[in-house]
Symmetry: C3
Subunit: 259 residues, 3 copies
């Protein structure tokens, strides 16, 4: 169980480039925010290898994306290319979503096996793998002051990464070869992610268990309205502020789609 | 001074569980945001052992919450339990606030003594202890796009942690046994936190020293209005944006209270 | 190339103090948010040595600002001083902007040379240097829930740090003495930053390459309006929310200026 699922540097860099490109296309939706070229490059770097930085920080090892010049160069170049050629890449929308599903699969497999090789127990290793896969998207939303997409109801993103990473941990515990386990894990993450986009799968919204009403004397209409309001969520003025948020059904926006 | 205030694993996990439970109850206030189950689990993990992760990152040592499977499992389970049984736990509101005060005391004591054992000087060790105690709450607010509660006027939270951690540093410098020092530190953090909730203690709002007016010729009413406006804070359109914020007096919301 | 551009501790602490002071003056613009004294101290610490913490986290070495008591003490004291004497320091506005330009130059030079001394390749080392210089400002904006200033159109801040850090990397590759290279790097960062404030230099806003229209039959006025609208950015309701943002031209606000 000591091996890491290693991929050639060019595959890793390709994954970083796809992430950075997608980050730039995502940022292009926010024209009204006056991001400058540096802002686009930062988003590209963060989406491209932010997950890898978080992974190595959690593992307390030297940060791999900083041991080579290529990561910063590829992420910056891909982000600026994505910005300039936005109209071209927007038409490749579906293709890039598919590539991105492959990318989170790869990052998750690398993260999980690296964590296991360093001696972390299984559940913690899966946690590191998931954060390696989706950490870039969390950092992106933080830097853009957006609600963290993957925490909200939407197509499965972190769940896909967790399914793949969890499978890898189980297979390695069963002494399956790391390359085979890694490939299966990537395939599962890829499959769950693509299927969830195609079929609109999502996790349920947060919801408390409520008792069934015991007294049927209450007028039905009133109760039904109340339930519907509970589903949409009431407008809560919280103790610390009011957030103007208009959530929609899709939490990870499809790249380049019309809003 | 080389000893760490060690608590049994089950106490540590109980503290993580309480934190995660409280995080889920906090998140339940934001039904209109459409957090899904994964979002609730992330908030649970972050509040439960985010402070421990920050502590070990600052200390440049392997991250303790990732060396065992239990932390991720307990935090996730406690968060989902808190979500499902929100109505039950909301009635235990006061009890959970009290448990949380104990929790930040424990996390602060562990952080401070661990930092001192690793050779950090006193003030830096107290800084690490405070961040270990309250880091989870900072990360929670960042991930929920909320104003960072503990930076705003409200009941004493980080200050309670600082009082306890500072006391521990002083006692250890006086060669008091680490268990005694740790217990006193926990008690002080607990006492300050609970007292500040009960009696409404808070730090003063940020405020510049202003000269007393020299000319009494100005009409009093006009001046008084201006002062009151300064106290509430004028509505500032800043160079980078307008934030729609309606702050209230309580910065750390009481769990489960009606907004 | 193994040497680090070392500055005396008091110069480093002076730089931390200037950063913290500026952080407090920045926070003073947000009176309506009810930051308390602790919040001001946190902003001071974050702006003062947050960049140094990020630098050492990225380099996987013990965090230098926590190896001495002075950093926490100086940053906290400078922030509270800045808060109390805001009216005095606001008049020193230009002077503090100039000192800050020197500060980011110093932090960038230290970060770049430290990264190179630890064996990082050039581009990665420049990345670390830039983050050391501007990381505090990013953390500040995150903690205050503000748009990250340096990602938006405004006077050159990170670009100035990158120019200086890049120059240092090139000079060290040419075997120039580290003190000379460091001094030149600081001068370049300082010069670019101050000149960009004086002359209003900025990076272009994000923008996709668009084809020139082929059909001149379209009425000119209509097309021109459309172009202008594209420049300002249309109001986009994104998939994840609506952000109420009124960006202006200056991304790094001049300290103490009237909004």
């Amino acid at each position: 169980m000591d091996d890491v699922f290693v991929i050639p540097l060019w595959v890793d860099l390709l994954a970083v480039g796809i992430g950075a490109l997608q980050g730039a296309l995502f940022a292009a939706q926010f024209r009204d925010r006056r991001l400058d070229w540096l802002g686009v490059a930062i988003i590209g770097i963060v989406v491209g290898f932010g997950g890898g930085l978080l992974r190595d920080l959690l593992l307390d090892v030297p940060l791999a994306p900083l041991q080579s010049n290529w990561y910063v160069v590829v992420a910056t170049a891909a982000a600026l290319l994505g910005m300039l050629l936005e109209r071209v890449f927007s038409r490749l929308n579906r293709f890039i979503t598919v590539l991105d599903a492959l990318t989170i699969g790869l990052f998750g497999a690398i993260g999980t096996t690296k964590a296991l090789a360093l001696g972390l127990p299984e559940v913690a290793a899966v946690f590191v793998g998931v954060l390696a896969a989706v950490g870039g998207s969390i950092l992106r939303d933080l830097l853009l002051n957006l609600p963290i997409a993957l925490m909200h109801v939407g197509s499965l993103y972190a769940v896909a990464a967790a399914a793949g990473s969890g499978t890898i941990a189980v297979l390695l515990a069963l002494d399956v070869d790391v390359l085979v386990a890694g490939a299966i894990g990537v395939a599962i993450t890829f499959g769950v992610r693509v299927a969830s986009v195609l079929f609109g799968w999502s996790l349920p919204e947060q919801r408390a268990i409520t008792r069934l009403p015991k007294l049927p004397a209450l007028p039905k209409r009133g109760r039904r309205d109340e339930d519907a309001a509970a589903d949409r969520g009431r407008t809560v003025t919280t103790a610390t502020g009011v957030i103007h948020l208009h959530p929609t059904t899709s939490s990870i926006p499809i790249v380049g789609s019309e809003p």
